[in-house]
Symmetry: D2
Subunit: 346 residues, 4 copies
């Protein structure tokens, strides 16, 4: 049935035209629905730190920031797709000046922030306020109110990820502005951290598990220490040392649709190659190395971003003298829930 | 942020063009990512039984059936979408002559069949063979091998549903032909029915729950009796009498991504209106009535199909003298898993 | 540590006496806490139908039935235990005359009834009224209000099971009388049957899963048909044809602590022997056969009861010309939840 | 039915005697099965640190330690019970001299150790070796092999808890000695800590969740920091600041049957009173205070133990100048699984 050369191809093309007025179709001889394996139009892309810095400056000077409006944000765009960094999500880089505020709002898309540089912004998610600093991961799960204000003295840069393309594929986009510019934070700061931040002890009156983590911020100190401990385990054949940010109440991914991982490639590492469904974007936290994707080699260093298409064969190398650390975002939790996840050694 | 009139719209358009070579973008002033609520391009469509019969005959005479190749299938095509009956799935009507065989294969998309007419085909799913008859629902969950052979003496017509558009949105299409035309059926026929067909008693050695129902065929006798019993309950305000086919080991939907329901509207019924995310297609098993979708009235009768777009307000009427029964297919289980399901009274 | 001959046994005995005033102890040389495997004091017992009938009559004539008070109930008592039919539950046989009422109450212990003979009683559980007939299983899960009234014209006999010994072991006994003799039944009769009786289709608005089945009565018609279907599967090596009553929303046992099974031994059957933790009582619904427990043979026929101790090796034979059917009650679901279940071929 | 004065009490007593030979009984007028609420024979007991030290020394000098045999262990015995500290578990205090070894074994009972004093022992659980120090909680879940060796230079004292009475109530006691005195530890030390010790990040290839925590040791540093963070939350009305050790893969209690909690009462605290099913034992890690149990006041200080019976009303006071910290062991997870847990403000 897949990719079969149809003997009645001409008749089919005629029929497709005739049937259109009834809102009927027959299987097309030209664009078969099925392929033996994914044939993604997404392409691997490398974005270099230097280009990012330069263009962030460009848009900073040329775009106007309206109150609560469009932000100073550079979207990583995949040339193989009509929109998006991957088939399901957008990655953007946001540049925030001291004193800037993003007004409170919420959306059906799940989102997260990973701090590339700077410190001193506070962010409020469903009433809970956090201080966010370099290396922290902050979740803004779907339909949670969120806003932020940069109270530090130097510019900050962070990664914004939104599974907006997946939401759009389902025709389920919702967006709502909050009644005022910022939420009034709860009296208890860091409440979710105080309740669930140890990961190993919890309040007696456990909340009904939601689809997302009850912990809204994962600090760099925690994730780096976890990575250091994991370095004492047997290496993962495809990823060396790699950990997934998890929901401490369920052991599932921190967000229901977006997977977040932190990974260390030790000097000399050259991983085995594999492929899997799901698309990913890597951000190089530190170090330098290369990733070979479907036979093409991408050299990366601190501050670069790399996009990996679904089912593309990939392997990683650390080409430097010190450890390389990658933060990874993917849509694997969504694919697993739908039953579409599959992986294969290459 | 949503639908804001941007003061720097011209500059943004210039920048978008300039940034393209770096694979960067800025938010477009023309196609904002966010809308207040879903603004689906899918449109409601009614397909009439008469047109279906006529065009099935057309394609039957004009298309060639290759061995295991393209079948005599009429796809219900939504004019608001580039392809598909809804944003996530295709519904087709298949016409099968006595003696015809569909060769064994499997695919990542989940699929199901609901028998519109006829009897005597047997279908084999992962080695288990069933006789299928009018009103039965047969599952071919994702990546299960399936084939069928029509051993009866009269033509059969059935509904084929595939969540192929959802799989395509995730760039996760897989398809594989079996090594031979038909699977060798297991020695024990109806094995899953014998194990799980009562829904209320199960074998001692319970299998690990899979993402889909361990029961592969739901008979018309069972579903009609369940509907009769449910008619003694308080009516559902939006759907009168309605039941969901469930996985008897988990209480979840029978398939992980596709919801299947059977619904009875009793004479005189006019339900309350509501809307929800998720798209649906109704097939009229018997009776006659109307559905009002976003203010437009669609009159339906036995054998018709009706497509309901996401977030469209809808209400149902039975306009006949006897009960109307609708079989419904939707993508609500997928949306619930992703956290995108929401409903609202109108 | 287990069953070790202690060299300081005398000194220990002295110390145990001395330490008593401080509420301290040391490990006793006489009653070690640990044994290599369970060494249950429960003994296998066979109760014959004839004795049951005779003694039911005895107590019927000699005991007084107070309003809502003690019932005409014969408890199956295990001579190896201080009380109870097994270490965790009591099985009783209740004799109910036309017109008799059991007043409404509830208790922490889970309970069930299996109808041995007669028809026409109605029972009300948390407001839902059912007609109960021979071969039906009726649940009265823990802390649900229940009462019954026998509206038929002939006496009824049923089995009462209560996990009261398990509740007592945990010092968690609660009992409460309802404010009046009988509950006012809900307007909709058989509501849980109408909602969940098919096991395969469910209402759209699914309730939060409770620890017990949402279906409160399992009919003989359903269970017998399920058993007939299961007879087409490969036989279970230890039990021939056997099914467990399940919660259709979770696939778990119908009650959280008490397992209920229906089992058919076909003519000529002689099962393999095995043993497992958990205690069980069998009631012979029809047929005749024998069970060999730890080398001792118990011949049973219709109406008899047989108690099986934990970890006792057992095998079943059908010694008659027609099928034998056994209803079984056990505490295996409780043991599984606690992590204490284990089984082993003999 | 409960506690009803039976009019036929004499006749019942006669019948009970007569029916004994048939292994039948009728409800006793003397020891009714049901009470309105738990009427536990367990009594509250306070064990003072001074008595413990003195008697540990006594048994240390008078009992002989056999190889792998009985240890130098003082059991906390409840005078209201035939055996056990509570209806379901035993708490013991173990005194370990430098160089001592406990030989490897396993048992059906779940067990844990909480280090009261000292450092330098290593313990091996199912092949994983840990260094254990003061304030650490170490799990030896049911049927895991465990042994330990004290490699430090000063004596250690720790708490041993075993849910042996619950296992005995179910007649499911198993015990097995390992083939040699000590297990050969895995090559990777602290493996479960490296995999799950952060509680917030996990290896990609997540194991099938077991009934117990994949993390076998919870350090004092972690639990004390978690308690400090929780002190910033609203106080628990009955327990001030209290956290439960959890399984980081499921959010459930660390062991399936035994609950473990760490609790801080701040100076001046006097909690509200409540009661619940389930029994508990408190160990005073530091500070001083009092607990009022069913109207009786128990003054405690560092090193004391206090046993709380099921359904006893209790409230806590910190009577000192600094914070008091209590480690608590209970059987609440078992009761919750069985559906027997209930609580009530007093
Ligand atoms: Fe946002
Ligand atoms: Fe990978
Ligand atoms: Fe197919
Ligand atoms: Fe609807
Ligand atoms: Fe009762
Ligand atoms: Fe058995
Ligand atoms: Fe032990
Ligand atoms: Fe308490």
């Amino acid at each position: 049935m897949a990719e079969v050369q149809m003997v009645d191809a001409d008749e089919r093309r005629t029929l497709i035209a005739e049937l259109e007025k009834y809102n009927f179709r027959v299987s097309s001889p030209d664009r078969p629905l099925f392929t033996k394996e994914p044939n993604s139009s997404m392409v691997p892309v490398l974005w270099k730190a230097g280009d990012i810095a330069e263009q962030l400056e460009q848009i900073g000077s040329r775009l106007k920031l309206q109150a609560g409006g469009a932000r100073r944000t550079l979207q990583l765009s995949n040339p193989g797709l009509p929109y998006g960094t991957t088939p399901t999500f957008w990655v953007s880089i946001q540049y925030i000046l001291p004193g800037e505020i993003a007004t409170a709002h919420r959306h059906m898309a799940s989102a997260l922030r990973f701090i590339m540089q700077g410190e001193g912004a506070d962010t409020t998610v469903d009433g809970e306020m956090y201080q966010i600093n370099e290396g922290d991961l902050v979740l803004t799960p779907n339909w949670t109110w969120h806003d932020h204000e940069h109270k530090g003295s130097e510019p900050m840069v962070w990664i914004d990820v939104l599974d907006i393309s997946l939401v759009r594929s389902c025709h389920a986009v919702f967006f709502e502005d909050f009644e005022s510019a910022r939420q009034t934070p709860n009296v208890i700061p860091d409440e979710s951290y105080r309740r669930f931040g140890s990961g190993l002890m919890r309040p007696l009156r456990r909340p009904e598990p939601k689809k997302y983590s009850p912990l809204l911020a994962y600090t760099s100190a925690m994730s780096e220490e976890a990575l250091r401990q994991a370095a004492g385990l047997d290496p993962d054949p495809y990823d060396d040392v790699i950990l997934e940010y998890q929901n401490p109440l369920t052991g599932e991914s921190a967000l229901p649709t977006i997977g977040t991982r932190l990974q260390m490639l030790r000097p000399g590492t050259h991983t085995r190659a594999h492929r899997h469904t799901g698309s990913a974007v890597y951000y190089v936290v530190r170090g330098e190395g290369a990733t070979i994707i479907d036979g093409r080699r991408f050299e990366w260093a601190k501050g670069d971003f790399l996009a990996l298409p679904p089912w593309a064969v990939h392997e990683h190398l650390n080409t430097g003298q010190s450890e390389a650390v990658l933060f990874q975002v993917n849509d694997i939790p969504a694919l697993e829930k739908l039953g579409f996840y599959r992986e294969q050694p290459a």
